[in-house]
């Protein structure tokens, strides 16, 4: 937790420098959080192109809001609140069908390159890809707010309190979201043990 506090202070300090007109501090924040935001959005919308577009919008909004920034919460809470809001809006607007196509195109290329390198056989790659696809489908089948909670809990290692702030709900509500989501995932993925 001490590290998290130090990170909080550092991010907030950088953002305050951005507020004062320091572009280099924005570059540092971007470098530090770019991958986490894009990966979170990718797992939310299942499209790399859409995830990067939404992540750009999220960072753009951070930059736009620099003048009004006050370090009342963790920088990452604010950043993920923006990113989650964009992802939920995108999913709500029903744009995910088009994104699905680009996801499939992008994902099918990566393991194929690895298989071609000779590190794993085509059969091994197909088995692995099939398992990943099952995971992706299981997560995608979750309601959007449960999916967001699981992704922040699992991949960003956020505490319940921080997820609650991102999702604008109580810690108790976050626990309910996570318990229901993991229950669904256990039912669908337990056989993969």
């Amino acid at each position: 937790m001490g590290g998290a506090t130090a990170a909080l202070d550092y991010d907030a300090e950088l953002m305050l420098r951005v507020k004062a007109g320091d572009g280099a501090s924005f570059a540092l924040l971007l470098k530090k959080h770019r991958a986490a935001v894009v990966h979170f959005l990718y797992r939310m919308v299942r499209s790399q192109a859409v995830a990067e577009e939404l992540a750009q919008e999220a960072f753009l909004r951070v930059y736009r809001s620099r003048g009004a920034y006050e370090p009342t919460a963790r920088f990452t809470t604010w950043l993920f609140r923006i990113a989650t809001h964009l992802a939920l809006n995108w999913l709500r607007d029903g744009k995910n069908e088009r994104g699905q196509e680009s996801l499939d195109q992008r994902d099918s290329g990566m393991p194929a390159r690895q298989a071609a390198d000779g590190r794993e056989s085509v059969e091994q790659w197909m088995v692995r890809e099939s398992r990943f696809e099952e995971v992706r489908r299981a997560v995608a089948a979750l309601p959007a707010n449960q999916r967001a909670a699981v992704l922040m809990h699992k991949y960003e290692e956020m505490e319940y309190s921080q997820i609650a702030k991102v999702l604008h709900c109580t810690e108790s509500a976050v626990k309910s979201l996570l318990f229901r989501a993991y229950e669904t995932l256990r039912a669908r993925l337990a056989h993969m043990a």
């Binding site: 971007l30 991958a35 894009v38 960072f59 753009l60 930059y63 995971v135 993991y182 256990r186 043990a193």
Partner: protein
């Protein structure tokens, strides 16, 4: 560790499956699981989920992500600069005297035009009266005198 299926217990098992408990917590859960098949199954299932999720890697971020973002910021900044140009301090500092002078000239023009009253239109009757010259007046008086004389001739004065 009790076993009443409450939320706290589930939360503890989730933390244990994710490897998030301290040593004392781990020992307590493991001791409980030795006797509880239901919790063992729960943890096994949750660990399977954790392992499956661990394997889901996200693709790397595009190399030109930052360049595209900065291009958007640049576009937005230039657009905002263009919009806010009339309000910029430099423009205000240089343009204010010119605008003030132009405003004064305009105000003076308006005041001058408004202070001179527009001529009133004369009444219709007045417009029909034409001024008479002295000769015409004299002729008219002579005509009246002549008429009076004629009247005296036609109706003689009873006093006479």
């Amino acid at each position: 560790m009790s076993h009443n299926g409450c939320r706290e217990e589930t939360e503890l098992l989730l933390e244990y499956a994710a490897g998030g408990l301290d040593a004392a917590g781990r020992v307590a859960v493991e001791r409980h699981m030795e006797e509880c098949g239901r919790c063992r199954d729960f943890v096994a299932g949750q660990r399977a989920v954790e392992a499956a999720l661990d394997g889901w890697e996200a693709p790397p971020v595009s190399a030109d992500f930052d360049r595209r973002l900065y291009a958007r910021i640049e576009r937005e900044a230039s657009w905002l600069n263009w919009l806010s140009w009339p309000l910029s301090p430099e423009v205000i500092r240089r343009g204010l005297p010119v605008v003030a002078a132009a405003g004064l000239v305009l105000a003076a023009f308006l005041v001058m035009n408004c202070s001179e009253p527009a001529p009133l239109a004369p009444p219709a009757a007045a417009r029909q009266v034409e001024p008479l010259g002295p000769d015409q007046v004299e002729t008219a008086l002579q005509d009246m005198e002549m008429l009076r004389e004629f009247s005296g001739l036609v109706r003689p004065d009873p006093a006479m």
